[in-house]
């Protein structure tokens, strides 16, 4: 795992392609063969969480927006998808089971659009994009930033979870939405369809990483770093930083929402416990540990942390939360750039100078080849172009 991580974390154009191909092979060919259906389902869940991390890596690592409330967008995507699954299970004109139990037995008007699969897919993207766009524009043009933005986004997550709990008749309250039987017509109990879901999640995640990479190497990515480091200076050059910040905030929100939408059929439940303050911070932990400013740091960090959470929780049911807290404190205190910065530091030492890569804005990983033997952790695959 760590060897693969080392190889994948190195960007550079050819190396990124090689890493991407390797990740595709691992995700599409190796993992489905090696892992039991149960573990594969877990991995699919982690991949959904990693999608949120890709967005956070862009918004926080590149744009400097400490988004403590990505649970809101994750939740919006998840609930839109869950509503569709409930309505589809209920059949045309049917009423989801929990509404008959707790509510009036009538489907509220704002559930109706989710009867259509096409509308559902569109809304999974549009609802969070619109909310993030309006909210981001309002906040960033007023120059709310830093800790104030973080607190605001976190308050939003708390409010969203409370709202969901309060609306038991229409959102399922604390129980959330669960008990889905089918996903766009496919039986969710069938292992073949579960595997298909895993493959869909893997493909979507890879696509998101490609999008993130394009954004990072583009001029927009350079501008984003400039805005992160010296927002006022950017203004004096004729740019409105609010545009760049809102854009990356919307991109991060959509990525979180898509992750949430796929999380629902993979896991089979979404509840306020998946979208509130605690999971919102949980998304951040993996990103921070992996290395927020790098391309793959957030993804691998998120997957590794989720994986560790599951395995450690299996051994020591109450131990995980302490371990997670300690890890987070340790990384923030001693390794602000995340584990990826260790790689960058070591590579720079190996090269013997600090001159960065001309092509790549990724700060932690210059692409030029490194003397063999400088890195014990790199695999043979990783070095091949």
């Amino acid at each position: 795992m760590t060897q693969r991580l080392t190889a994948l974390l190195a960007p550079g154009r050819t190396r990124a392609l090689a890493g991407f191909a390797l990740a595709a092979v691992v995700l599409f060919a190796v993992a489905p063969v090696l892992l039991s259906p149960f573990r594969l389902g877990l991995l699919a869940k982690f991949l959904c969480l990693a999608m949120v991390a890709v967005g956070i890596g862009l918004a926080w690592g590149r744009g400097g927006l400490l988004t403590l409330g990505q649970g809101v967008y994750f939740g919006l995507g998840a609930y839109v998808m869950a509503m569709h699954l409930k309505l589809a299970d209920a059949g045309p004109g049917g009423v989801p089971d929990f509404m008959s139990l707790y509510g009036t037995g009538e489907v509220p008007w704002w559930w109706e659009p989710m009867r259509s699969p096409v509308a559902t897919v569109a809304l999974v993207i549009l609802v969070p994009a619109l909310l993030a766009g309006v909210l981001g524009w309002a906040v960033f043009t007023r120059r709310v930033r830093g800790a104030y933005f973080a607190i605001l986004s976190q308050a939003l997550a708390a409010a969203f979870a409370i709202l969901l709990v309060g609306q038991q008749q229409t959102t399922g309250g604390t129980n959330g939405l669960n008990g889905f039987r089918s996903f766009f017509g496919y039986d969710l109990a069938d292992p073949v369809n579960q595997r298909m879901l895993y493959l869909v999640a893997a493909g979507v995640l890879l696509a998101m990483v490609l999008v993130a990479r394009q954004l990072m190497v583009s001029r927009f990515g350079e501008l984003l770093v400039a805005v992160r480091d010296a927002e006022d200076r950017v203004r004096f050059l004729g740019y409105d930083p609010a545009v760049a910040k809102t854009t990356v905030y919307v991109v991060a929100a959509v990525m979180a929402a898509v992750g949430g939408a796929l999380f629902v059929p993979v896991v089979g439940i979404v509840s306020p416990a998946d979208v509130g303050v605690v999971p919102s911070i949980g998304f951040l932990v993996g990103v921070a540990i992996g290395g927020r400013a790098t391309l793959l740091g957030p993804v691998l960090g998120a997957i590794a942390v989720s994986w560790a959470q599951t395995s450690i929780s299996e051994q020591f049911p109450s131990g995980w939360i302490y371990f997670q807290g300690a890890l987070f404190v340790g990384v923030v205190a001693f390794l602000p750039g995340g584990l990826a910065s260790l790689l960058g530091r070591r590579r720079r030492r190996g090269r013997g100078d600090a001159a960065p890569a001309p092509e790549e804005p990724e700060t932690t990983a210059p692409p030029s080849p490194v003397p063999a033997g400088a890195h014990t952790g790199r695999t043979a695959q990783g070095r091949q172009p």
Binding site: Q214, S218, R219, V225, A230, R235
Partner: protein, 281 residues
């Protein structure tokens, strides 16, 4: 000292290419401030300043610390709210957002060189050149280096360091990079806040030559404490004191002005030493 000078020797040909032909485009540009006033709560930092600077007139703005020089620039560039009027040609600048003022052709540098430290020299210039780029261009990777950026690299003598992160540049080089960013930004009105602070003598001369060259085609206002530099390169001088314009004219006229002499508490022969030691009362 000599090893530093090689880095800043600029290429006059590249400067002319970057500034463009001495065309009518900027021919009639001028900055005109009338009754400009900036107040922070009860404290009036700039009061009723009238200032006119025309193209081709390399204007230096001097005064003791706290005289309101930087605040004046902040007001015109939209950083602090001000009352009165400040026009670039026919465009009123006051009341607009900072980035809109910048798009109208107003650029500035800062006392402490502020470049994007994690980005390379090339990336810094490329961003400065690109405020008018459309979304599609922004979302693509930079292909060819824009011509203006290439020329600016030559002008400021940083062509050899184009892929170096701006953060590791020497102090003087950062200031040159900022000047380069102003040039590619295509500003008509340039404010430079202490552009030669911390530079070697050779670097000062190169900077002065460059400013003179730019000043012939743009409206340039330089805030500077270095009196030797001022005497060598200023076409005209505005002296500020306690938020007001105290005197204005050529270097010789200003040095003879009794009010200026009094403020600086020094003989006209050594205003430089006085300017750096005298604090505002």
């Amino acid at each position: 000292m000599t090893d530093q000078t090689t880095a800043v020797e600029h290429d006059p040909g590249a400067t002319d290419a970057l500034l463009g032909p001495d065309s009518a485009r900027f021919r009639h540009d001028y900055l005109e401030a009338r009754g400009l006033r900036v107040a922070f709560g009860g404290f009036v930092a700039v009061r009723d300043v009238d200032l006119t600077v025309a193209q081709g007139d390399l204007r230096f703005l001097i005064g003791p610390n706290g005289a309101g020089k930087t605040t004046l620039i902040d007001a015109v560039t939209g950083l602090v709210p001000a009352t009165g009027s400040a026009r670039l040609g026919r465009t009123e600048l006051l009341g607009r957002g900072t980035h809109r003022i910048a798009r109208h052709g107003v650029g500035r540098t800062f006392q402490t060189a502020s470049v994007f430290e994690e980005l390379t020299v090339l990336q810094n210039l490329d961003i400065a050149a690109g405020a008018r780029r459309g979304p599609l261009t922004m979302l693509r990777r930079r292909g060819a280096v824009p011509e203006a950026v290439e020329q600016a690299l030559e002008v400021v003598g940083l062509a050899g360091l184009r892929d170096t992160p701006a953060g590791v540049l020497a102090h003087g080089q950062k200031q040159w990079l900022e000047i380069g960013m102003l040039l590619v930004q295509d500003a008509h009105l340039l404010f430079l806040d202490e552009p030669v602070a911390g530079m070697t003598q050779a670097e000062r001369e190169a900077t002065g030559d460059l400013l003179r060259r730019i000043g012939s085609q743009r409206v340039v206002v330089v805030v500077e404490h270095d009196m030797e530099f001022l005497r060598a390169f200023a076409d005209s001088v505005t002296v500020m004191h306690q938020g007001r314009v105290l005197a204005e004219g050529t270097v010789a006229e200003v040095q003879r002005d009794p009010a200026v002499v009094e403020v600086y508490l020094g003989a006209p022969a050594q205003p430089g030493t006085a300017a750096t030691t005298k604090e505002d009362a």
